[in-house]
Amino acid sequence: MNDTVITEKPVEAADQRAREYLTFRLDQEEYGIDILKVQEIRGYEPPTRIANAPDFIKGVINLRGTIVPIVDMRLKFNCSKSNYDAFTVVIVLNLQHRIVGIVVDSVSDVMSLKPDQIRAAPDIDSVIDPESILGLGALDDRMLILLDIEKLMTSSDMGLVAVA
């Protein structure tokens, strides 16, 4: 009896282990990203503009000695407005080989989502490459768009990575 519990539990846990997502808001939409990719959250400060960069790349900031590019997700995802106020937040992401800051309207929460709460995203045409959407998190009546932020930030249309 005891034995079966011990042998079964890890398998179940691996399958059903909830993962934590940092959720943020862009206009009316709510997004979630893997919390382990987040280095820190800080207020928005005007970055140094980089000439001839796409408009959603706001520029670079000095993050304690490191030059970090800032991407405005609202511009990237064609949100209706992108004003900078006291609540505008930069999420500093620590991706595999680089540090990138993303501008969002606000950070809401850290959510635990179990795999059974995640639904596949329907195949629709959107500004977000379907490849970089992990799925849709169903939370009561809210919908979380779970992003594969690593894939999204390193994709070629982001223009953050030099094209080899």
């Binding site: 140094t48 980089i50 000439a51 670079v60 000695g65 490191t66 030059i67 680089r98 030099a162």
Partner: protein, 719 residues
């Protein structure tokens, strides 16, 4: 023939030598560690070639280094290890645990010997002759050697050991400094050549001493007796002889004041050096130098290991056993550590941040009332001093002395001068001047070129020098010195210098725009043009005209400058000015709109307020400006960087002339903000390459400013 010598201005030759010693000791230590590790991990049955090769390489590098620096004992030991390992890796022998034991012991012994050399207590290292013999025995495939390590040699020792007990006073004087007078008896020789070989040692090794054969009627046919005067210890002598005769065949004794040879058989009074170390306990355990010595441990055994057992109190001091140093008594502390560059760079980054934060605090505290905030202000000024010191110390981690570069030139010049039939003295000054490691690596090639040039083009042939009233031997001086935030490296020679007229003629020949009224400095700069050479004969050394332009380009790439001074008939001087580190650059900050850009100061030629009539358009929208007699293309930073304008009244009216890749362009900016040292940051580590930008820096207020890539801007103006 060339007479090249290094006449160091700052550090003496001794210091240089010891610097190299230090490097050798460190590397040898690392190699020994690595070898030990690999030996311990070695699986005897399945030892693969890679592992064996690795161990062999370790022994080989130590041997090479030791031989170079004249540590013959280490070299000899490692040489034996190497031959054993060589057989192993060529599969002539199968690795056994005995071999591993011997090799490990040898590694310990080598470490102890190195420690002795390092601490300068030469001659007090452990005896290695025995290890050498054991390794030899194994290499020779000696069946007996397969037995536990000390066994094969232990037996002969047992035979003579008791003899040693009688004249135990004799070796006491063995260590006495000064020349000793010894009677050396070689007995039971297989053939006479062995004795001759020993005698030859004294002739071949300088300072070993004198040897004279003693002819006496009582010497047996297979014996030789010599009268030896030497300052070496018995142990050293035995080590040397070990190449030719077995240890038990040798006996050394102090010569009697009477020069006649004692008539007794040699064994009766001879002193076995090894056994004299041991003490009047049975000899078998007296040989317990090493772990795993045969025989049950007896009370006297441990005493024998430290070689100072009471009965043998007078035993020579040289007889430190192998055990003693490895016990840690002589273990010197490592004077350096190796650290990944990335860690140092991170440290430099953090300190840079600290400095900026500190500057910010200092700025903000300036308005405080000193009477109210006295303590705070004192603390801040302490912080100021400490951060500065910290920054300096951290920056110095990456700094290495110029001697690393300079040391390669004496040899090169010697060969070169020999080839050219010139006589050259090479003088270096200020080789202790420190420079960033990254820069040192990059400056070596340009400097090599300059020195070769001096030798080839500068210094005349000896007869020409004499005719010109100069000493036959030319002098090339290489000097390095700090000047402000940069380092100035000079290559000077007292050769024929450069001929202004020749350079101008050559330039005209090549269709370059020159005039006779050009200032000297500009004429000399002509030699940096690609393909420019005034050498009458193209030699394999130089003269093809490739080079000076490359030198200039390399140095410019390091944010450095090259200046030439020359006096025909008296020589020339090339000064290379470099920033102390690549991480810091002298920059000029310029404002465009609300943005700040940094220009490398090294590429800024001049700046001036523009007069509207000086700017004219060429073609559709290209603009040129007339600066003195020259029209230069104008680059508007505002357009290149699409700077947004909030204040439409203001326009760019400052011009900065920049030079890169040999051409000049004019940058149109709003204002000049000042000059400052900036810490260069990579933009590509988190972003990607940005056109016309070489990097970024952080300004005093914490904002990021982009550093302009002047070379790219100049290229841009061309098409």
């Amino acid at each position: 023939m060339a007479d090249v010598h290094q006449d160091s201005g700052g550090a003496g030759t001794d210091i240089d030598l010891s610097q190299f010693y230090q490097i050798f000791f460190e590397e040898a230590g690392e190699n020994l560690d690595q070898m030990e590790q690999m030996l311990l991990n070695l699986n005897l049955e399945t030892a693969d070639d890679e592992e064996l090769n690795g161990i062999f390489r370790c022994a080989h590098s130590i041997k090479g280094g030791a031989a170079t620096f004249g540590f013959s004992d280490v070299a000899e030991l490692t040489h034996k290890m190497e031959s054993l390992l060589d057989k192993l890796r060529r599969h002539e022998l199968k690795p056994t645990s005995v071999m591993v034991d011997v090799l490990l012991e040898s590694a310990d012994a080598a470490r102890a010997l190195l420690a002795c050399h390092q601490s300068g207590t030469v001659g007090q290292g452990p005896a290695t002759a025995d290890l050498v013999q054991r390794i030899q025995a194994i290499v020779a495939g000696d069946a007996a050697a397969a037995a536990p390590p000390p066994a094969p040699v232990a037996s002969p020792v047992v035979a003579v050991a008791p003899v040693a007990l009688t004249p135990s006073a004799a070796p006491a004087s063995a260590e006495a400094s000064g020349v000793r007078h010894l009677i050396l008896r070689l007995s039971k020789l297989d053939h006479a050549a062995q004795a001759d070989a020993v005698a030859e040692l004294f002739r071949d090794i300088p300072g070993l001493g004198d040897i004279k054969p003693v002819l006496a009627p009582d010497i047996a046919a297979n014996e030789r007796v010599y009268d030896v005067q030497t300052s070496s210890s018995n142990e050293d002598l035995l080590d040397l002889f070990a190449f030719h005769v077995a240890r038990e065949q040798v006996s050394i004794q102090e010569a009697e004041p009477v020069a006649t040879l004692p008539p007794e058989p040699p064994s009766a009074e001879s002193v076995k050096v090894e056994t004299s170390v041991s003490h009047p306990t049975p000899a078998a355990e007296g040989y317990g130098f090493f772990d795993g010595a045969p025989g049950a441990p007896k009370p006297g055994d441990s005493a024998a290991k430290v070689a100072v057992a009471a009965p043998a109190a007078e035993a020579p001091k040289a007889m430190h056993s192998v055990k003693a140093p490895s016990a840690g008594a002589l273990q010197p502390e490592a004077a350096t550590i190796r650290v990944a560059i990335s860690k140092v760079d991170q440290l430099i980054n953090l300190v840079g941040e600290l400095v900026i934060t500190q500057a910010m605090l200092a700025q903000n505290s300036r308005s405080l009332d000193p009477t109210v905030y006295q303590q705070l202000l004192t603390g801040l000024s302490d912080l100021d001093r400490n951060t500065r010191d910290l920054q300096e110390s951290v920056m110095s981690i990456r700094m290495i002395p110029m001697s690393i570069v300079f040391s390669r030139f004496p040899r090169m010049l010697r060969d070169l001068a020999g080839k050219l039939g010139k006589k050259v003295d090479f003088v270096t000054q200020g080789e202790a001047t420190e420079l960033d490691k990254g820069l040192v690596e990059k400056i070596t090639d340009p400097l090599t070129h300059l020195v070769r040039n001096s030798c080839d083009h500068g210094i005349e042939m000896p007869q020409d020098r004499v005719r010109a009233g100069k000493p036959e031997t030319g002098t090339i001086t290489l000097s390095a010195a700090h000047q402000g935030g940069s380092i100035v490296i000079e290559v000077r020679d007292d050769g024929k210098g450069m001929s202004r007229s020749k350079i101008l003629a050559k330039a005209r020949e090549r269709g370059m725009e020159v005039s006779d009224s050009m200032p000297d400095a500009e004429v000399w700069q002509l030699i940096f043009a690609p393909g420019f050479s005034t050498a009458e004969v193209v030699t394999d050394v130089s003269g093809r005209g490739v080079g000076m332009d490359v030198v200039k380009r390399n140095i410019t790439a390091l944010n450095g400058t090259v200046e030439i001074e020359s006096a025909e008939g008296y020589g020339m001087r090339v000064s290379v000015r470099l920033p102390l580190t690549l991480a810091i650059m002298d920059g000029m900050s310029v404002g465009v709109g609300n943005e700040v850009y940094i220009l490398p100061l090294s590429s800024v030629v001049e700046s001036f307020q523009v007069r509207s009539e000086a700017v004219s358009t060429l073609g559709q929208d290209s603009r040129v400006v007339k600066v003195r007699d020259e029209y230069m293309p104008v680059i508007e930073l505002e357009k290149v960087f699409q700077v947004p304008r909030f204040n439409t009244d203001k326009t760019s009216d400052m011009m900065v002339v920049i030079e890169a890749d040999g051409s000049r362009v004019v940058l149109l900016v709003d204002e000049l903000l000042g000059q400052q040292q900036v810490v260069v940051k990579n933009l590509e580590s988190n972003y990607r390459k940005v056109p016309n930008v070489s990097g970024a820096t952080i300004l005093g207020d914490g904002k990021v400013a982009l550093i302009l890539d002047t070379a790219a801007l100049v290229r841009r103006s061309r098409h």
